[in-house]
């Protein structure tokens, strides 16, 4: 099976050099052809998108853009739609994730982009969304308008299915022309979404493009980056640092580096009725996308004092992981990944030799591993791919100081706690660097309009243009109707 990735308006497919990425899952093979543009093609593409961004996209109202996006999402939610079918058939092959997990994950994810959610998304950043369409009176006097970049370049990373949707939609909502570079780990979704948008609204034909280049191909990168107004990039801190060197100083650079997320479980939630359910939710967060997301948990801090001890909680989590293994089998790992988790487990088992209070529970086939520890000084993150460390603490209030040294890397904290505790913890965690607090079981599904890494998804992209009151007043003096 062969599938072409990308979306390249104005360039004939025959004029493009295609490179093939091979994905093999069991007996099924998928060949994804990715476009390799030359400098001139990349340059022309950027010029084309910028022009369309200025003349077409910026002339649409936000309401129109919301409607178009909503229609595209509706198509992707329809399981009989050809694009949706392609997603369900090919994304498991490309990413290796279990087909059921991809299917359910897509639906859960896509429905957060329906019209009401998009409206919330905008309202989160703009009290008056009309500010994206025309100058609006400002409380301080004068008028303001929010203007999106002509060219927003996205550099995506990772393999969580559909992840580029966040920034693509954010770009659309601020009327930015977009060129996105897909990662080799999941090169398909972004291109399909672009094609689908154009199918629904042909006026958008030149407003966006989806490209690819091999990691480290700085020539291609430079050709695009020098044209960008804003660059939104995802990935490891090393690649982001490297990328920053190629972004002109006049260009806004918005990096989203690797993050670490964790869970917290209050003793009050661990009674004999609720404990197994809380553990099930914790395990679900571990299982979803095999901890490949920035919002996936690496650690759980579990408070002592409940009817079910942190040690017992670990066992509940272990069995829940075993249960999920049959419902959502872990994706097939590369040799390096398999080696990585084997090493992680070996390290835990070695550590357990000198810490008799530790417990290492793992499936015989190595598909999951839960480690219980009472040592709060060794906060080794997980080995990914369904390996989790559960640390017992006397009080959840002890957690914030433990994670504070990793401030730059913190993102989500999934919390199971009574209301008062939730709010008290949120306060200290926020200061420690956590930017998102959610329920256990929801860690991998941020709600519409969330502030990714604590930032403003839309506000970060726009520039405000102001008509100061002085201009307005002065203009009055030049009015033809002046007495």
């Amino acid at each position: 099976m062969t599938e072409r990735a990308g979306y390249l308006p104005g360039i004939a497919e025959a004029d493009i050099e295609w490179q093939t990425l091979d994905f093999q899952r069991g007996n099924a093979a998928l060949h994804v052809e990715v476009p390799v543009l030359d400098d001139a093609q990349m340059d022309a593409l950027a010029v084309r998108v910028k022009l369309a961004s200025r003349t077409i996209l910026k002339a649409l109202t936000v309401s129109e853009i919301v409607d178009i996006t909503d229609r595209a999402i509706a198509r992707l939610l329809d399981r009989n739609d050809p694009y949706r079918r392609k997603c369900e058939a090919l994304l498991p092959l490309v990413t290796g994730y279990d087909a059921e997990m991809v299917r359910l994950g897509l639906t859960g994810y896509l429905k957060t982009f329906r019209k009401p959610n998009l409206q919330k998304f905008i309202a989160e950043d703009f009290a008056n969304p009309k500010i994206l369409d025309e100058f609006q009176p400002a409380p301080k006097g004068g008028f303001t308008k929010a203007i999106g970049p002509d060219l927003l370049v996205h550099v995506w990373a990772g393999n969580v299915p559909g992840l580029p949707l966040w920034s693509m939609v954010a770009g659309l909502l601020v009327k930015a022309g977009s060129i996105g570079k897909v990662p080799s780990g999941e090169p398909l979704f972004a291109g399909w979404f672009a094609q689908l948008l154009v199918e629904i609204e042909p006026r958008l034909t030149d407003c966006l493009a989806v490209v690819w280049w091999k990691g480290g191909d700085t020539a291609r990168e430079d050709a695009l980056l020098k044209q960008a107004d804003t660059v939104l990039a995802y990935g490891g801190n090393e690649s982001l640092t490297e990328l920053r060197k190629h972004v002109p100083i006049t260009t806004r650079y918005l990096p989203h580096g690797h993050k670490v997320s964790f869970g917290m479980v209050a003793g009050a939630t661990l009674d004999t009725r609720k404990a197994a359910g809380v553990a099930q939710q914790a395990a679900y967060d571990v299982v979803r996308y095999d901890q490949q997301g920035c919002f996936s948990p690496h650690l759980f801090f579990v408070e002592r004092g409940g009817r079910v001890s942190p040690r017992e909680f670990t066992r509940y989590v272990a069995h829940a992981l075993a249960g999920f293994e049959s419902k959502y089998p872990r994706r097939e790992l590369t040799i390096a990944e398999a080696g990585g988790i084997a090493a992680w487990r070996d390290a835990a088992e070695t550590e357990a030799l000198s810490h008799p209070d530790m417990e290492v529970i793992a499936s015989e086939t190595g598909t999951w591993c839960a480690v219980y520890s009472e040592d709060t000084t060794t906060l080794n993150p997980s080995g990914l791919n369904r390996t989790i460390r559960i640390v017992a603490v006397d009080a959840l209030d002890d957690v914030a100081p433990l994670v504070a040294p990793f401030k730059a890397f913190l993102q989500t904290a999934g919390i199971a706690a009574p209301p008062e505790e939730l709010h008290r913890l949120a306060n200290v965690l926020g200061t420690a660097g956590v930017t998102r607090i959610c329920a256990l079981g929801n860690m991998t599904a941020p709600e519409a309009g969330w502030h990714h890494d604590g930032r403003f998804n839309l506000l970060d992209l726009i520039s405000m243009v102001e008509i100061e009151q002085s201009a307005e007043t002065a203009a009055e003096t030049f009015a033809p109707y002046t007495d």
Binding site: R315, Y316, A318, A320, A322, I361
Partner: protein
């Protein structure tokens, strides 16, 4: 079924159903702890039979009604073998199944009931208590409790025995509900009249014939008949079964 590398404790395994179960596990490669109360000689014979069958076995004396003794036994097993995969609660106090001379309800003292509850239930309670911390560490394990088909059909009204075994079925279901989320399964095997065993030695031919007549498979159970369902419930083949009671009585009880 393959029980190689697995450790199985069978209580009351020196004779009868327990011995047959021990041998059957050994024949599939398991390491069997042959628990017994008094008859060391019989226990040794079971151990020998287990080894001949191809598995490993060790006799361990412990009174299932003595909590400390059972704890010591489990500690020894855990230390020596590192894991306990299955526990078969089979031991029970001597009870004579004699339909002609059984006690009628008005002849029964409360202590008769209490003795049987201690026999069927306290023994299972003691061993489960001791073994669960070991099983929980691996988030897996199987507990098989030996009940009787009399709990479903009181062919002969052995009041105190059947009442206690009924309690064991309830005990098992409840434990199954609690331990399911930890990956540990609890099930019962409920045999019909098993012959020959020491307990059924005095059961009259007429009774056996009457039972045989009503049994679709037209015979009485042998100790070996009970082994298959016990091994099945211990094995991964029954991995999605818990809280169940399997009747092993040739179809006398259905459902």
């Amino acid at each position: 079924m393959d029980f190689r590398g697995q450790t199985i404790i069978v209580t009351g395994a020196s004779r009868g159903i327990g011995a047959a179960v021990a041998k059957a596990f050994a024949a599939e490669g398991g390491t069997v702890i042959v628990n017994y109360l008094k008859n060391a000689e019989a226990a040794d014979r079971t151990v020998e039979a287990c080894k001949t069958a191809g598995g490993d076995a060790q006799a361990m004396q412990a009174d299932v009604n003595d909590r400390d003794a059972i704890q010591r036994m489990v500690d020894t097993v855990a230390e020596e073998f590192g894991r306990i995969d299955t526990v078969v609660n089979n031991a029970f106090r001597p009870y004579t199944f004699d339909p002609d001379n059984r006690k009628r309800f008005d002849e029964l003292a409360w202590t008769d009931y209490r003795d049987q509850v201690d026999s069927a239930l306290q023994s299972a309670y003691n061993l489960c208590h001791a073994v669960l911390p070991v099983m929980k560490k691996r988030a897996t394990g199987s507990i098989v409790n030996v009940a009787t088909d009399l709990v479903a059909r009181a062919v002969v009204p052995y009041h105190e025995y059947t009442t206690a075994k009924s309690a064991l079925v309830g005990f098992s279901r409840t434990l199954a509900a609690e331990l399911g989320p930890l990956g540990i399964r609890v099930n019962c095997v409920a045999p019909g009249l098993v012959y020959p065993t020491d307990a059924s030695r005095d059961t009259k031919e007429a009774v056996k014939d009457a039972i045989i007549e009503q049994t679709p498979l037209r015979r009485i159970a042998t100790p070996e008949d009970v082994t298959g369902p016990v091994l099945f419930l211990a094995s991964d083949w029954s991995r999605f079964m818990t809280g169940q009671t399997l009747y092993v009585d040739g179809g006398l009880v259905m459902g």
